[in-house]
């Protein structure tokens, strides 16, 4: 079960995320769940495995906005790094294990919520 406390322990900047939600805890948690189910996670995985740099950039860029707004720092930081690596690229570049990290961090939170 996701709570503000579990998110804080996870490493999210809960204060910042909550402030964007007018300190409405219920709404914040609802938005976090919505963010974790963002289709861009799957799009990102598929694009990278298909070596589609443009699609991978668009998915990462989308995640950067929403995850950033939720202040889920452990996901946000590698997403930002990935966006910068893919920016303006038409050919896939070596992104190391960034995508795996992003997915793993998302899965960690999903597990906490189960």
């Amino acid at each position: 079960m996701l709570t503000v406390e579990t998110l804080r322990n996870y490493g999210a900047n809960v204060k910042e995320g909550m402030a964007r939600c007018l300190n409405n805890e219920t709404f914040y948690l609802k938005m976090v769940r919505l963010g974790l189910s963002d289709a861009n996670f799957d799009r990102l995985k598929t694009a990278v495995s298909n070596k589609n740099a443009v699609a991978a950039y668009e998915a990462a860029h989308g995640l950067k906005g929403s995850i950033g707004n939720l202040a889920l720092t452990p996901i946000f930081n590698p997403v930002c790094e990935l966006v910068e690596m893919l920016r303006g690229k038409t050919e896939m570049v070596d992104t190391g294990n960034l995508v795996d990290t992003i997915i793993a961090e998302r899965d960690k939170l999903l597990k906490l919520d189960s």
């Binding site: 910042e16 402030a19 964007r20 939600c21 007018l22 409405n24 709404f27 938005m31 919505l34 963010g35 963002d38 861009n40 668009e58 860029h61 989308g62 950067k64 906005g65 929403s66 950033g68 707004n69 939720l70 202040a71």
Partner: protein, 565 residues
Amino acid sequence: MNTDAIIRTGRQTVLIVEDELVNQQLLGFILKESYNVLYAQNGQEALDLLHSEKYRVSMILLDIIMPVMDGITFLRLAGEDERIRSIPIIVLTSDNEMELEAFRLGAMDFIKKPYDMPDIILARVRRIIEFVEDREIIRDVEHDPLTGLYNRSFFFEYSRRLMEREKERTFDMLAIDVDRFRIANEVYGRTFGDQVLCSLADGIRKVLHGHLGISCRADADLFYVLIEHGADLKNSLEQIRSCIHEGEHPSVLRIRMGAYSGIGFEHPVSWYAEASKSACDSIRRNYQTDIMIYDEELHRRELYNERLIADVDTAIEERQFVVFFQPKYAIQGERPVLVSAEALIRWNHPELGFVSPGDFIPLFEENGLILKVDNYVWREASRRLREWKERYKLDLHISVNVSRKDLFSTDLSQQLQSIIIENGLSVDDVTLEVTESAYSQDADQMLKAVKTLRDGGFKIEMDDFGSGYSSLNMLCMMPIDALKIDMKFVRNIAISKTGYRIVELVAEMARALNVPTIIEGVEDREQYELVRRVGCDIVQGYYFSRPVDAENFEKLIEKEASQRG
């Protein structure tokens, strides 16, 4: 499309265009306490929603990277769409690289992702909505709603500011006017008139394109343009003309332009505008040119006119106006018989001397003072006629001029009736001369007014026939009692066969209409014999007598009385 906004009266509506649900919901959550919120997932959905016109949207929050239609494409299309481009747009972005392009396409501000704190977002949205609404209010107040040009007062103020800001430049003031616009409006309808004005405004915008300046619609069909000195006036007028779609009525409209070249700071801007209007007005009756530049001569003329206008009441009180009489003789009998006289006004100004009726009558016709002056003539002429009738017991009548402006007076018939009654005369004693141009300018109004006068028993003489361009059809419609042929025809009667034939034809036409023909301007024996031969009934002109004062006219009556025995 998720439109969970409930439109409530008095709240502004914000449209969030964003495909990321978290971002969309978060913004909506922040804004919904203060605004109605609408959502669109991409640019195309947003366009569809805005085109549906179900909502009056006060602000658009726009993401850049979206499927179907991205934010940059939306901005481009919105900028080309008159209904949308006035709505302020804040772009939502996590990148800096799109900022310049978005600004270039009309975005007013940015909100960065991750978002600022809610208070900051709310403050930015509120500030921009207020700014744009204030701008719209100001725009509505300062512009003419029909043409979109400035209105008169803001034009004067902004012209002054522009001139002060651009002191090193020289400016000209133009006045542009449409001849007979009111008539065109009446004949072809208000929509036609509005189209003409809008096209004229478009023409002015074209003229200003590439020149520093501003313009306004100052009055119904009067426009002012402040333009940097150097623009070719003739080309400018042509450019304006070419924008007017006259459709199938090309002969109706004439566009005149007056200009004051090189305006300065000695007078308020409104003074220069008035001066350019005076120049424009000065060619109202001059069909040789459509452009007039204000100059010293025009300035002197204006001052002179102002003096005449200022002095008219005193002139009436002090009896500076003198009524002259030009006799009219019936010529088809054994000898010419004095039957009537046209009452004509003269002004002996104590300081300016003799003022020509050609100077003051058109002037007073323009500003309505002619009503006072004509009234004075009607009274004076009637008073004299009563004296002569009592003294000489002759069957004599007079004709007085009734100007176009007089005919607009709703109680004209009553005014004339009371003058006649006061002097113990009857309506048969006073004939009314109405100039032909009055008929052609306001046909419906004139028909109505003339019918009212005839219903009151007055006889109507159509004056200056042939000087204007009244149609023959008008003659059939207009009830008249005499046709007075313009003096220019007499000039040609002895010179050319055509001139002779024309007078003959008009006389025949009058006979067909069963009204007598009066011809004015007969100056010599030859002309007299010819007009008699073609069958004109009554003659007025120097051949018999120039206009004379009452005392001298009385001598002619005395002579007539003695001849009649």
